[in-house]
C-alpha cells in the first residue's frame, strides 16, 4: 500500500511541474469549456426568447399604401420602419439587412377595397433561423388581420362568420425555452464529463506509453513492488487530477451560468454550492472507470503519440450516450441509470432543473460506474504484467 502512495505522490509532483499538462488540465478545460458553453446557452436563450415574444423590426416599402395593416402589426410589438423604395431597390436592400422586408404593391388598397385578394410581398432570407422565426410570426399576424377583415365582410353581408371556421383546431405549443435548450444543456454535461476525462489523459498515457518511450519503464519494473501497485498508484494520480478538474469545471460553470438567466431555461435559478456539490458527487463514481479505461487503451499502443490518438478517440465514447439522449429525448429510467456517463448526464440535468432524481437512481448510477471502474482497474493492473508492455 505504501508503494501505491509513493507512486501517487511522485506522479502528482511530476504533473505539477509540467506546465503544459498542468495548463491543459487546470486552465483550458475548466475555464475554456464553461466560457464556450456559457456563450452558446446565452445565445440560445436570446435567440429563442426574442423571436417568440420580443419586439421585431419590419422594414416596409410604401408603408403609406397599407396604414391600417401596419397599425394592426404595431399592436403586436412589430416595429415598422418605413423606407422609400421600389421593388428592385427593396430586394437589394434585403441583401444588406437581416430582417424581413414587406413590400406593399401599388394596387394593394384598391384590391382590398374591391374584395379581391390584395397582394403583399414579404422578402426574407430564411436561411437565418432568427429570420425564419420572424417570418412565421409576421405571417400569422398578417393572417390574423386578413381573418378579421374576412369576418367583417361576412357580417356586412349578413352571414355568420363562424361559417368560415368549420373546424376549430387549437395547436398547443408545448415547447418551452427549456426543451428548446435541451441540446445545449446536454452539452453542459458533455463538457463536464469530457473535461474531467481530459485531465486524467496525461498521466494515464504516461503510465505505459510514456514510461516506455522514455525508457524508464524497465527500471521501474525492477523495483521490489507488485506491478499492479505501480499502475494503481498512477491511476490514482490520474483520478486526483480528474477530481481537481471536475471541481474547477463545475465551479466555473456555476459562476458562468449564474450570469445568464438560468430561470428562462427552466433550470434551478440557484446554481449554488449545493447543486455544484451534487454534480461533483454525481460524477465522482465515473472517475476510476475513466482513468482505468484510458490507461487500458494507452497500454495497447506503441508510442506516446499513438496513445494520444487512440485515447483521444476513446474520450468520445462516453459522449455517445449523451448524443443519443438528446436526439431520442431520453428520460431517466432505472435501466438507463445503469449506463455510465448517461446516468451522470441525467443527474447533472436533474440537479440543474431543481428536480433531484430519486436516491435509488443515483445509487444505481454510482454502483454501476464504480463496478465498471473496478473491473477496468483490475484489467489495467493485469495488463501491466504482460511482457509485451515493454514494447
Amino acid at each position: 500500500m505504501k508503494s501505491i502512495w509513493l507512486v501517487l505522490r511522485k506522479e502528482l509532483r511530476e504533473t505539477l511541474r509540467d506546465r503544459r499538462s498542468l495548463f491543459t488540465t487546470l486552465v483550458v478545460g475548466p475555464l475554456l469549456m464553461p466560457a464556450l458553453i456559457g456563450t452558446v446557452i446565452f445565445m440560445a436563450i436570446r435567440h429563442g426568447g426574442a423571436v417568440h415574444t420580443g419586439p421585431i423590426t419590419l422594414t416596409v416599402a410604401h408603408a403609406e399604401r397599407a396604414p391600417r395593416l401596419l397599425d394592426f402589426l404595431r399592436q403586436y410589438q412589430v416595429r415598422v420602419r418605413p423606407v422609400n423604395a421600389d421593388r428592385a431597390r427593396a430586394r437589394r436592400m434585403l441583401e444588406r439587412q437581416q430582417g424581413p422586408l414587406l413590400y406593399v404593391p401599388r394596387d394593394f388598397g384598391a384590391r382590398l377595397a374591391a374584395g379581391k385578394p390584395a397582394p403583399l410581398r414579404l422578402y426574407a432570407n430564411e436561411s437565418n433561423r432568427s429570420v425564419q422565426g420572424k417570418v412565421e410570426r409576421l405571417s400569422s399576424l398578417i393572417g390574423l388581420y386578413g381573418g378579421t377583415i374576412a369576418r367583417l365582410r361576412l357580417v356586412a353581408r349578413g352571414l355568420d362568420p363562424q361559417l368560415l371556421a368549420p373546424i376549430a383546431l387549437h395547436p398547443i405549443d408545448t415547447s418551452t425555452p427549456q426543451s428548446r435548450a435541451a441540446l445545449t444543456l446536454g452539452m453542459l454535461s458533455y463538457a463536464i464529463v469530457f473535461t474531467m476525462l481530459m485531465s486524467g489523459l496525461y498521466i494515464a498515457i504516461d503510465t505505459t506509453a510514456g514510461e516506455r518511450e522514455r525508457g524508464s519503464l524497465e527500471p521501474l519494473l525492477t523495483v521490489p513492488v507488485e506491478r499492479e501497485h505501480l499502475v494503481y498508484g498512477k491511476m490514482l494520480a490520474a483520478c486526483v487530477m480528474m477530481l481537481v478538474s471536475l471541481i474547477l469545471t463545475v465551479a466555473a460553470f456555476a459562476v458562468t451560468l449564474r450570469h445568464i438567466g438560468l430561470a428562462r431555461l427552466g433550470m434551478s435559478a440557484n446554481f449554488g454550492p449545493g447543486v455544484a456539490a451534487g454534480i461533483v458527487f454525481g460524477c465522482l463514481p465515473l472517475i476510476p472507470a475513466g482513468a482505468a479505461l484510458m490507461t487500458l487503451v494507452a497500454s495497447y499502443t506503441r508510442s506516446y503519440r499513438e496513445a494520444q490518438t487512440y485515447v483521444g478517440l476513446v474520450l468520445l465514447v462516453p459522449t455517445l450516450p449523451l448524443i443519443f439522449a438528446s436526439i431520442l429525448g431520453l428520460q431517466p429510467r432505472a435501466a438507463l441509470m445503469a449506463v455510465p456517463s448517461l446516468s451522470q448526464h441525467f443527474i447533472i440535468m436533474s440537479l440543474l432543473r431543481g428536480q433531484p432524481l430519486p436516491g435509488g437512481y443515483v445509487a444505481i448510477s454510482a454502483a454501476v460506474s464504480l463496478a465498471l471502474g473496478a473491473v477496468l482497474v483490475y484489467l489495467a493492473g493485469r495488463l501491466y504484467r504482460r511482457e509485451r508492455l515493454l514494447g
Partner: protein, 255 residues
Amino acid sequence: MGPGRERHAGMIEARALSKRFGALTAIDGVSLRAADGSITGLLGPNGAGKSTTLRILYTVLRPDGGEAWIDGTSVLAQPLEARRRMGVLPHGAGVYPNLTARENIEYFGALHGLSRAVCRSRAAQLIARLEMASFADRPAKGFSQGERVKTALARALVHQPRNVLLDEPTNGLDVMAVRTLRRLLGELRDEGRCILFSSHVMPEVAALCDHVIVIAGGRVVVQAGLEELKARAGTASLEEAFVRLIDPDGAGDGP
C-alpha cells in the same frame, strides 16, 4: 541441482535459459555464473541475446525454459525478493524528466522500502561518489546522456544491492564518464559485490572484467577467466579471441 534455497548465496546463476519471441529464438539454453567480488562481462555481438539474458535475470521477462537465481533466490518463484537483491541499469536508462537527479534517486530508494532519511543520505553519498553535484538538483529533462546514465546508475545503487546488473552501461558516454563508471565498478567489486554487465565493446571488457561470458546466436560460446580466454583462442589479443569464438569459420560476415 536443487531448488533455490539450496543454491549458493553470493552469486548470479542461470541454468538452461531459453526465450522465444514469436518465431525468433532469442536465447537457447544459456547457463552462466557470476561470482561475488568479481566483474563478469557478458560479451557478444548485437542481437546475440545479451539483453534478453539480463532481462530474464532482472525479472522483467520470464523465460520459456530454464531457471535463474540471484543469491540463491529464484527469479521465477520469488521475483520481488530477487529484485531486492539487485540493482539494475537497463538499456537506455530513462529517468523522469520533471524530477531532479536527486529526486529520481530518492524515488527509487523509497520504492525499495528505504526510509526518507536513508534515501536522503544514500542519494547524497551517490551524488558525491558519481561526481553529480553540478547537476543533481536540476530537472532531468535537460540532461546529457552521461548525466542520465549517472543518475540511472545512482538510482540502481541506492538500496546498496549485492548484485549489480548493467546492460551496455557505457553506451553513449564520453571518456570521462566511462572512467568514472569503471572506477565505480572496480570499487563495487572490491566491496565484494557481484557485477554482471553486457557489452559488445572489446577494450571495455578487457579493461574491466575478471570473467568473460561470450554469447553468440543465443548460446554461451565460452565462459572463462580473461587470461584463460586468450589462451583458449590461441591469441594474445582479446579482440582476436572474441572474433574467433563467435565466428569460428572466419567467414567474416558475422553471425
